[in-house]
Amino acid sequence: MAMLETKDLHAWYGASHTLHGVSISVAQGEVVALVGRNGAGKTTTIRSVMGLMSKTTGSIRFDGQDLVALPAHDRYRLGLAYVPEERRIIPGLTVRENLQLGLVASRGKIDERDAIEEIAESFPRLKERLDQEGVTMSGGEQQMLAIARATIAKPKMILLDEPSEGIMPVLVEEMGALFRKLRDQGVTLLLVEQNVEWALRLADRAIIMDQGEVVYESSSAALLADKEIQERYCAV
């Protein structure tokens, strides 16, 4: 069963028409890499799914629900989390407070102390920094915090926008291990990436976008082997 399915999705930034009928499907428990050049429409696709574009048409279904009419905050409550490219750690707030924000919508149904303890176990780098201001950490640590914040309420699916960007290789590997662990827990992942090789080694399947359209779909293994397609659509 599809966890996320878009059909004929169009999106606009003001007058600029950036998505031209994107139809993608991500199965429950699947890890999908969404790749392609800058400006291909990858970020716009996940922003549309999250409800952050002012104008979209077409259908978006998540876990059997039609999302189109729902505001962004209701989409999160259905179990759809989003880690934006800029990480968006809130200045002036401690690591713990940033994590707490991820739990507000659960309205006390998740015990805050337990959830933060559990996250601290999965993210040892955050554990000793819980009372430090989030934005004073390194870029990689902030990325970990952004992912931790998005996972703390146990979403069914996470949309990640370029999580490996500008991060030390050792942390990128750590993040990869974390994504595998999430997949083993049954969390569905849609990964937008520029680091194509890394993304393909994590993902089950790959979708390539170009100029606001889906141009290619295959298993990750097949795309890894096909240097020509990679060259044509993903080369910088």
Partner: protein, 288 residues
């Protein structure tokens, strides 16, 4: 000139400043969170004073006026946010500014129609009349009460912002409203409550200032100018700045009234100019 008079005037300045703190905090909270420059803030201060007077005369008790009017006008503020300001989000910052500017005229004229153009005396509650000897001089009990109430409100506001979940959302939402949405938080509800809170603070200021000056439909105009000066001196969006600058402006106005009365109305603008020359971001503001 004897020290007792100076101390008296100093304390009057603190009481005046305390009212300014309330009004400026409301203005600052609304601007910091919603990005709305609320030009109706002074008019809502005035409406709050009338509401307090009205409730007090209906119930025969100042205390009911003090408690009910800010809640009532705070609720009215929420209606303003919901029906008038909300449709303007996402547009230029000028749009809500012009809307609230127009609204302030509507409110002033509305009060004129209902209560008349003349000032109405706002009696000091009998339990708070008179003076008390503080060792250095005799101070009006009511002014001490005003300073105490403002202190209490500021402490509650601080606790609410720093120690509660709602405060966490307000602090975070002021920095990044979009991130709040994708974390499942309905930020428009937070804006509604924050606008109501800001307006409630202004109307509490209005009720408290009533017995110190009587109420009239124009009383909000000067208050608005003072509140703007205070938020600029303190630093836009800084709550600590509003508190320090509010007290500072109150004391400076009051002391100038003693030594150079003809300068009293312009001294705060001079102070603002000096602060802006030395620290353009205000005393506690951060550089953008």
């Amino acid at each position: 000139m004897d020290t007792e008079l100076i101390l008296m005037q100093l304390f009057s300045g603190v009481a005046l400043g305390a009212i300014l703190v309330l009004t400026a905090l409301g203005l600052s909270i609304i601007f910091g969170m919603l990005g709305v420059v609320n030009f109706a803030h002074g008019a809502l201060f005035m409406v709050g004073a009338y509401a307090g007077l009205w409730v007090a005369s209906l119930t025969g008790s100042f205390w009911w006026g003090l408690i009910v009017a800010p809640i009532m006008i705070g609720g009215f503020g929420m209606l303003i946010e919901y029906f008038l300001i909300r449709p303007l989000y996402g547009r230029s910052i000028d749009d809500p500014l012009l809307l609230t500017f127009g609204l302030s005229y509507v409110l002033v004229e509305g009060v004129r129609i209902v209560f008349g153009s003349d000032g109405i005396p706002f009696p000091t509650p009998s339990s708070l009349t008179g003076v008390v000897d503080l060792g250095v001089g005799f101070f009006p009990i009511y002014r001490i009460f005003v300073v105490g109430i403002v202190f209490l409100v500021v402490v509650l506001l601080w606790l609410g912002l720093e120690k509660t979940k709602f405060g966490l959302i307000v602090r975070a939402g002021a920095r990044d409203p979009t991130m709040m949405k994708v974390l499942g938080i309905d930020i428009s509800k937070v804006w509604l409550l924050v606008f109501g809170l800001g307006v409630g603070l202004a109307s509490l200021g209005g009720v408290l200032s009533g017995p110190m000056r009587s109420v009239n439909p124009e009383m909000g105009a000067l208050v608005l100018a003072e509140a703007f000066v205070v938020t600029v001196i303190g630093g836009l969006g800084s709550l600590v700045g509003s508190i320090v600058a509010g007290l500072l402006v109150g004391v400076v106005i009051s002391m100038t009234a003693l030594f150079a009365p003809e300068m009293a109305t312009i001294v705060m603008f001079a102070l603002m100019a000096v602060v802006l020359l030395i620290r353009p971001q205000g005393l506690f503001g951060k550089l953008a």
